[in-house]
Symmetry: C2
Subunit: 341 residues, 2 copies
């Protein structure tokens, strides 16, 4: 329908100048005489010229773009991270694209290759593992920064919170409230995030002299559905417990749904703690007690680290952000004076 879009030569011809002048006018207007600039801009406007960024990138050898690869785009946890990344990126003239790994090796490879194919200059990873081919040969990795997660087999620049301490704090709070049989809805236990929070859970138990019962630990993928199904299964099997510590708000909310379906009330019958302090945590009923993470700050710092790497400044040191337990309505003390029936 529409004719092929104009290129820099069309503009040059129309303005009666060379392509170099057009390029200069667009990039450094002050290096061009007033009337020349005028002519060029007129031609640009008339033709609706937009420089072909592919050609520009090919020439400049940098795309000023970064890809943010997340574990599961449907977890709202990543949204504020994204915003933090974007803020830092924008300030430095970078663009951000977001990709969904869905915990799938093929997809992960796909995005890593996208960077190697020069679609982007760097990759911010929010996933817990890497396909074997990259572990074997780290030279194949483009510039990478890990945010919130960690790749256990490799020493990559990382921005995160102290997940062990955060989890331990949450579980200690439950124990201090009189709970002893505490379920842990863990993340995938084969990667950092899952194991770190599980470790915190175990540490709190140990500190309180409570024996660790593997039967109380269930592993899921941080999603609503996982939380619901795991707790449902547990209740069907007749397990007994008075509290749940979930490794994400999503799993916590899913768990509450399952508890309700079995006629149990939160926090009257079961106390529940989540992780992340996403927006929905304060909107559900009862509002969720959860571990707050400074998501925006994490994203911002990760992007800054990325920029430092890209600029060749030596690898920046890892950064650890603080967390905070936000107590809301989904937890309460277990009445100690009530004798069991």
């Amino acid at each position: 329908m529409v004719g092929a879009s104009p290129n820099i030569r069309d503009v040059a011809r129309r303005a009666g100048v060379s392509t170099a002048t057009v390029s200069r006018t667009l990039a450094q207007p002050d290096k061009v005489r007033e009337d020349t600039r005028q002519k060029v801009m007129e031609a640009v406007e008339a033709l609706g010229f937009v420089p072909n960024d592919r050609a520009r990138v090919l020439r400049r050898q940098t795309s000023k773009t970064v890809i943010l690869l997340v574990r599961d785009i449907s977890n709202p946890f990543y949204l504020d991270i994204y915003k933090g990344v974007e803020e830092a990126a924008f300030a430095a003239g970078y663009k951000v694209l977001m990709g969904d790994a869905r915990d799938d090796d093929e997809r992960i490879s796909h995005y890593i290759d996208a960077v190697r194919e020069r679609h982007a200059d760097g990759l911010i990873l929010m996933i817990g593992r890497l396909p074997a081919r990259f572990l074997e040969d780290p030279a194949r990795l483009p510039p990478v920064v890990v945010a919130s997660e960690a790749i256990q087999e490799m020493d990559l620049p990382t921005v995160k919170v102290d997940n062990v301490a955060a989890a331990q704090g949450a579980v200690e709070y439950l124990i201090a409230s009189g709970h002893h049989r505490i379920i842990h809805l863990a993340g995938p236990v084969d990667d950092y995030l899952g194991t770190a929070r599980l470790e915190g859970y175990r540490a709190a138990l140990e500190a309180a002299g409570i024996a660790y019962d593997p039967g109380l630990v269930l592993s899921g993928d941080f999603s609503l559905v996982a939380g619901r199904d795991l707790i449902d299964g547990l209740l069907v099997r007749g397990a007994e417990f008075s509290a749940i510590f979930a490794a994400s708000d999503q799993m916590a909310i899913g768990a509450i749904t399952a508890l309700r379906q079995h006629g149990l009330q939160v926090p009257k019958d079961v106390s529940v703690i989540g992780f992340d302090d996403t927006l929905i945590a304060s909107m559900v009923d009862p509002a969720l007690t959860t571990v707050h993470q400074p998501r925006r700050d994490i994203g911002f710092a990760a992007m800054q680290m990325m920029i430092a790497r890209l600029n060749g400044t030596m690898t920046p040191p890892d950064q650890i952000f603080p967390t905070e337990l936000v107590v809301r309505g989904s937890t309460r003390a277990r009445p100690v004076d009530t004798p069991s029936p």
Copy 2:
């Protein structure tokens, strides 16, 4: 640290062939003799060569990439749309990138320009408006398909549901259950989605002989926070109503939060209907009555339409998908026999 990545010439040199042969080996292996191919592949492997896609695109004049631009990435509604788009894209060898418009003209322009700069071949819009410069001069738009929404001023290929009928059906259900004073939490009323659902609301009222009261219609941006704050404001002002029809699940859930904070119960005191049937609708308590949209199908169809456009096949006709009212626990009949106090 790592040396610059190898290019096609490095591979050619190492394999002792021309760059053309390397290119051919990678693109059409069967057009190359067995032993040549072997030599080339060995060199590729040894060097860890990944073709620079920017250069390839520059030469081929097509990027096989599509950008999906959504209104607000934090609304889970878009996730299944994205999955549908991606499925259709993958089947046809396309990649999908997702951008967040945040209802902001500058961001919208940014993404449209990204396509015009050849980062992508086409744009799937899930936003309700376009910056003026594109309305004035449609030739400036790259290949576009609109999904779920509509740009009122322009006749663009569109995939959506019948929003008027869907909204009308939901409100008729409330009326049939005995509700008369029904709040409508509308979307932005200056674009298609907001006005279409409002129109359905009005039509249902009119059909039942209920006078339209503009004071019962509140406009928000489909978000959780908007739903909560609008209903909160209403209750503070002492408004009376027995039901709410929200233009999104997010607003409905936010509304329920506000109702609770004012001591009102759902559905005992107020019935609530949402729109979209997102995952969370079935997980909250009470589960949300809502209008189901076939999100995945919408996304899939939109991408197929995009591919048809890109292939030059004439502009495909618009597509309308059916919706369905899913009745759950957040609505109930208003007891008619109870005299008002």
